[in-house]
Symmetry: D2
């Protein structure tokens, strides 16, 4: 359990970091959506390691194959099986993992839960698992774009204390992709790159935030009570490795305002109900109001560092661990397509849900 | 859809603010748990309006009845139906609601979604819906306490800019309940109370944060990938009315640290694996590690204010709205039992899930 | 778990036979469906005991109340809570139940599963639980009738060896209701009534079959693989108390034919694809083909008989049990609305599912 | 949707008949179960076509690979991805399928539902899809055998009018496998084989029944109300291609008995509660009672026959179709492992569910 996401647009991911392959099965995608590997590969490439010195150097081509659910370039309405072979499986780099619990990784908790784990490269706990999500998310994104003209863009909005303020209404993916750090504020992007380089050389790691904007979702998506749109988005984001926080609209800063300052007045813009401000973040009472949905996700610094750390081993003895092998100074640039993928899965699911009852 | 929470310990809530009653059905609670209304009523009383001038003055006794699933003081393993009659149904106070969309409320989005709504008191969008959750959460909390000695305590940690730093390991419910604002830092509590009183007199409203600690959950609860413990907690919290953010452990502040500063070193405390620090917030890779699980939730200022506001009406014409009737200067003190209830639902669900596979 | 049915049109039932009430919560019914208690009560009345000497004499008015989800005569899209108070709770009649496991009842298996049970009147195992289903099914039936002109009719097609052959295309509910045994073949109905009366006087019980026809369901409802329409119908029917078998279309008799005899040739009837015969029972590959969907359900003789029987008691000692109290010579006439209700729940769910992806 | 089965032990299958591969993902299998391809391949071999002249001659080695979820011979608690490449993809044989709806196949209903289909070999409607189920079922069967000593055996109990009465308590798989028709009554098996050979030479097809026995399931598995064990078994069986009926215990024949004849008296066998007879089929009130669970499934004659048949084409014109290519005179022998697999999935799911609440 726990490897399936969504109610109508459902994704199940599978695979360990150093097994034969990883993948995802998408069940519930409507039929007759044009789809091929070319719709999916670009997002996988954005997620892939080895794109720049800002991220881990593991070399994987991450080439996706569609094994089912598509025929003659169209979806069939049947499950879409997406598979990505694992290639660069240097288990040797990870020998310490077998013996010692890496601090702030999931080695210990997996052992506590299952009594066994595939320690090679973190096994199922590896961020490599997210490749399956990104592939599935690309299908959701295509559905949203073609049927509903919904656009999802996300970007790095902070690296450590370096923050970029970007307009959630206008940032384009093209601009996001201009720098390897994926921050559309190009001046800040340069600072962030320098910061990450310095952190990498120091064998250390750094966190930050990603902001995501979902544009042109119609009013009426979402649900009251437990499956509020923001609740499903929060779950989606907190399910990503290294994420520690989520806020929508005004978020934590909104707690400093009074109601008089915070409320979003309605007005008519032609025949469309709109709000003057958007502190709600495009969602009211769990349901979209037609404004841009935007939220921010906090990612902690990655846990692998090139420093000796205190820890315990699998025999429950105190010991120390020194990081070796490939090292990722920060997950942020690669997390951008992950955030977009999860957002797309949430929105596609609610789009189908709304369609079901209307 | 969207009115059920949980996979094994499942809760379905129902009811509109001004209908005959509201309630919840709990399916999946194990048999032979001692249970009576006396286990549930105290949490309902803490959630109820009219407790102090800090919260809304709607008068409801909120008396719960167990209609099924319990016989001779024990759960039967069958669905537990919990019902709370609605009493103070002064629909007249709300006449504007029928005609005008209240800013930053869910009136407009419900109409956009369903094409119809029960406008009396907000209908299903009213925070009154949470009474069903609190009742169900009390059952989950009893299960967790009796079977696993798990304790859940939450408190108001900020009202606007007034913040209280409290130790997540030691705050007791007794101390939380010492003041009507439910902040265990009694000095800060006084400030918060004064602030809320001032806000109330001004016809305004204010937000803040609630912190929650879950103590003594064993290592191994939770799940990898989509149903991470923090993901389910995030969903649970963002499903609460007026919530805008969630962070676990180091949260957003953790993005300012490097990995060297952020990692939690393991050590042996007797025969138990523990961490020196707890920036992880008790969860690693989606699974509990045996440390205290703690998180913070942001609540925006309530949307009802006693000020004229711009808005539109149901005929899509620009208009203005002036708040009348009962007015809640802040949801925070009443949200404390809501946060605890949702946390209990998440934990009880994962406790059963872990039991299933072990 | 196990008390919820459906994926999009979801029903959760609750309640024990001798508790305060029983009920159902319907989640997922689209908004703006006209609905009132008057749409539900007739089916409940058909299910109720005490209608004739053919069924149990327990006296219950079974009056349903809609507690939520409906406002001004229309559904709101929110959960519809349906409640039926229990009235005739003569626990005294059932004292033996506390001590002894009734043969072919569920007393023993409930104790084996839960270690506790509400023995009064069978508790949750009582057929009384089906009142909640019938109430929820009436909502589904209304939705199907109003949105899709789908009609569901079922009838008693056999009592013991007395079988009636009725045309699945043309039987009307009016004709079914002409006799208390609910068999539209009036000559056979007389025989059945005499048989049941004789069985009742003898303190014995008898089984039989119910046939159900679903007319005017469009082609395209259902799903391949696990959620085939016939699979969901089979589950729905085998979930009814005392049911032991299900067959759709040609069913078990179809196993005696060859493919050449069994296949349903297609032909064009105007612009509509139709089949010359309907051995498929309106479903091919799990999906409706536009022909009448029909199936048959086997119900065993009810287990309560006025005869001394061997059994064991709760202390696991051999003993004997003699039936007392009210006795139902056969569940069949009352099972007719139950079969219709469950069929309606399956069809409404698949109607929404098809709507979601089209 | 519709491609996932189970609540705790969950299986999702994917794949079209003539795509690159088919497969299944098992989510929820507990960790530390010894597992390798060798546990799965034998059931796949029993399901595979080309074993004898009694079944279709499509040549497939059906070799399964475990791509995830197993490490060093043990399950990890993570999803188990099972993949079977498609090999014998002679699309040319099926050209008529593209143009004409085969009578009593699912070509028309798929088009009605999805507006598109992979016509090659039936695509997703092909019985080939069941290979994924059989692979997943083998995992469930291993879990049941190792943890609970539960044994599942099924066999062909009728081919057309040739019926075999076999003792559900004692039939062994070894005896079932003695003949290619998989009927343990060896005299009847010879008759059945001759019948199927004659039918095959005639270009016709034939149906029959399969009986299944589940032995040593403890009392207490299953659930009241909707997820009764027999309800889940009925759904599982009616989800198999070509199945038209299901009966448990006394089934349809039980409707001819009176309660006095039908009830199963309890008695103490040492310290174990048992029943003298087993007309209940091992299940009472939806929950196992510790006796052997047995049921029968009806399979219609396969729809592909070598005869000219009336039908319509995709342009909705009347036409005729003559079967060509490989032809399966009867699905029965190959359906035996399918029935066992689906039974294993149901039982494994309920085993985990019972574990969760006990």
């Amino acid at each position: 359990m726990g490897n399936t996401f969504g109610r109508l647009f459902r994704v199940t991911t599978w695979g360990e970091s150093h097994g034969a392959a990883i993948g995802a099965v998408v069940d519930g995608c409507p039929a007759r959506l044009p789809l091929s590997e070319a719709d999916i590969q670009p997002d996988l490439d954005r997620r892939a390691p080895g794109q720049s010195t800002l991220v881990t150097q593991r070399k994987e081509s991450d080439t996706v194959r569609i094994l089912s659910g598509v025929y003659e370039g169209q979806t069939l309405g049947t499950p879409i099986s997406l598979e990505i072979p694992n290639q660069d499986m240097r288990s040797g780099d990870y020998r310490d993992m077998q013996e010692k619990y890496r601090p702030s990784h999931a080695d210990y908790t997996y052992d506590a839960k299952y009594g066994v784990r595939d320690w090679r490269g973190g096994g199922r706990t590896s961020a490599r698992e997210t490749a399956g999500r990104v592939a599935a998310g690309a299908v959701a994104r295509k559905l949203l774009a073609m049927r509903h003209q919904v656009e999802i863009v996300s970007w790095v909005s902070a690296v450590g204390a370096i923050t970029a303020e970007c307009d959630v209404e206008s940032v384009t993916q093209e601009r996001v992709e201009k720098t390897p750090v994926r921050c559309p504020d190009l001046a800040r992007a340069e600072e962030m790159i320098r910061k990450i380089e310095a952190i990498r050389k120091d064998g250390n790691s750094i966190g930050g935030t990603i902001t995501c904007a979902i544009r042109r979702a119609p009013a009426g998506w979402g649900a009251p009570v437990f499956d509020r749109l923001e609740a499903d988005l929060a779950k989606a984001m907190l399910s990503l490795p290294a994420s520690k926080g989520f806020e929508i609209g005004s978020g934590f800063a909104g707690t400093l305002l009074t109601g008089r300052e915070h409320n979003d007045p309605f007005y008519m813009a032609g025949d469309r109900v709109r709000t003057r401000t958007n502190r709600s973040g495009g969602v009211q009472g769990g349901i979209s109001n037609g404004e841009t949905i935007y939220f921010k996700v906090a990612f902690k610094p990655t846990a692998t560092i090139m420093t000796e750390q205190q820890t315990v081993n699998v025999r429950h003895e105190d010991t120390t661990l020194t990081g070796r092998g490939r090292h990722d100074p920060g997950v942020l640039p690669r997390a951008v397509p992950m955030v977009e993928a999860m957002a797309a899965l949430v929105l596609a699911d609610h789009a189908l849900r709304q369609h079901a009852i209307s």
